[in-house]
Symmetry: C2
Amino acid sequence: MYQNAPYTYRHPHPAVTTDVVLFTIREGELQLLLIQRANAPYSGMWALPGGFLEINEDLEHCAKRELEEETGISGIYLEQLYTFGRPDRDPRERVISVTYYALTPSDRLTPKAASDAKATDWFPLNTLPALAFDHAEIIALAQQRLIAKLDYSTIAFQFMEAQFTLSQLQSVYEILLGTRLDKRNFRKRMLALGQIEETGEQHRTGNHRPARVYRVKNPKRVEIIK
Amino acid sequence: MYQNAPYTYRHPHPAVTTDVVLFTIREGELQLLLIQRANAPYSGMWALPGGFLEINEDLEHCAKRELEEETGISGIYLEQLYTFGRPDRDPRERVISVTYYALTPSDRLTPKAASDAKATDWFPLNTLPALAFDHAEIIALAQQRLIAKLDYSTIAFQFMEAQFTLSQLQSVYEILLGTRLDKRNFRKRMLALGQIEETGEQHRTGNHRPARVYRVKNPKRVEIIK
DNA sequence: GCAAAAGTGTTCCAGATACACCCATGT
DNA sequence: ACATGGGTGTATCTGGAACACTTTTGC
């Protein structure tokens, strides 16, 4: 893929990577995807999906490509988070990491392992394994940003499947915020946003009244509210 | 300063720069600092202060260093904004720019020109000159972020000198928001933040009642409010 | 005494919060 | 008929918005 000839510059250049914090809601918890490293440095430890920027590739494209290569997941919400560049953050060479965070509904999860031999798995945020590089710091910032955005955007809709009930939506908010919410107030607030609409269908499950099914009017957009 | 020997890598590496959008309030307007380019590309056009990251230098250090080298300004509030990396954003080579924005009170402005021959000047945001690279885009994002932060942080205090009156503070908010504010409500809100305190001194100016003088309790910190 | 900016409280409104019961279904 | 989650309305609270006059100074 790469030629062997060296690339030369008059001044030293850092390497540039992208890393992605991919969140989903699984098993009633906020979880994120990690990849177990097969090689040094940090061999055996877990790390965020990511990799080196190609020389003519857009940053966001790199993040999406690495995510797809390593996990098979594509077409999801992705937003730049922060750029990390402590001089010693990678022992091999100077590496600047442009980080992104991404959200996906749990039905889009491709359980397939990565193309290469590395293991990939989901981890709840409060039981993370030992992490390579400064990835623990990146994850902490991503979680903080995600929670902050709940308050003033419709970002939580990115966790929902194409069709969902208000109870499912409320459950997502409750998991993210770590608190119970009042059902009536929650519904009032969500409907007042004007961002979701009924499909007309019903969702039947168990011995109780069927739930109305909703969809997001503009599923790709994250609206800033208030 | 640099040796002449080339640096070689197995894979191509982009260059990494930092650029800084430095805001201040001057002449009743929000203004920012630009530097006129002396060399190609974009020779003669205006650009943000910034430059190449040194190989063992922290990103934020690079931003501060370039700002000080080119403008003599240091010790001010600085925050990472976004990382720009379109493959064609610099015609010379692939350049990733980690951008920052900075705020300063107008009394800290060192009018000295940069050490080299380039011109530096302040420009109001609505009368910007022709800008090099994608710097117009960077400035637009910085302004948007600054205005958004007014609502939920004490970032505006970074424009104030060590001592100031509530009228001066209100004027800063009015300039940033582009609207007039009610004096009583404004004072109530500012004092309720608990972030400023009276110095006990008075500020006399003109034929009218002297104003009480305030200072920020914790001038380095930007608090998130509400 | 007059011009000019500093300083000060109360009413009103809107949006958020608290709260309890009936509905539709499967077994 | 009963167990289960789905669905609904009103009263209260709170923080923001609107609003006008008195105070202190320099000339």
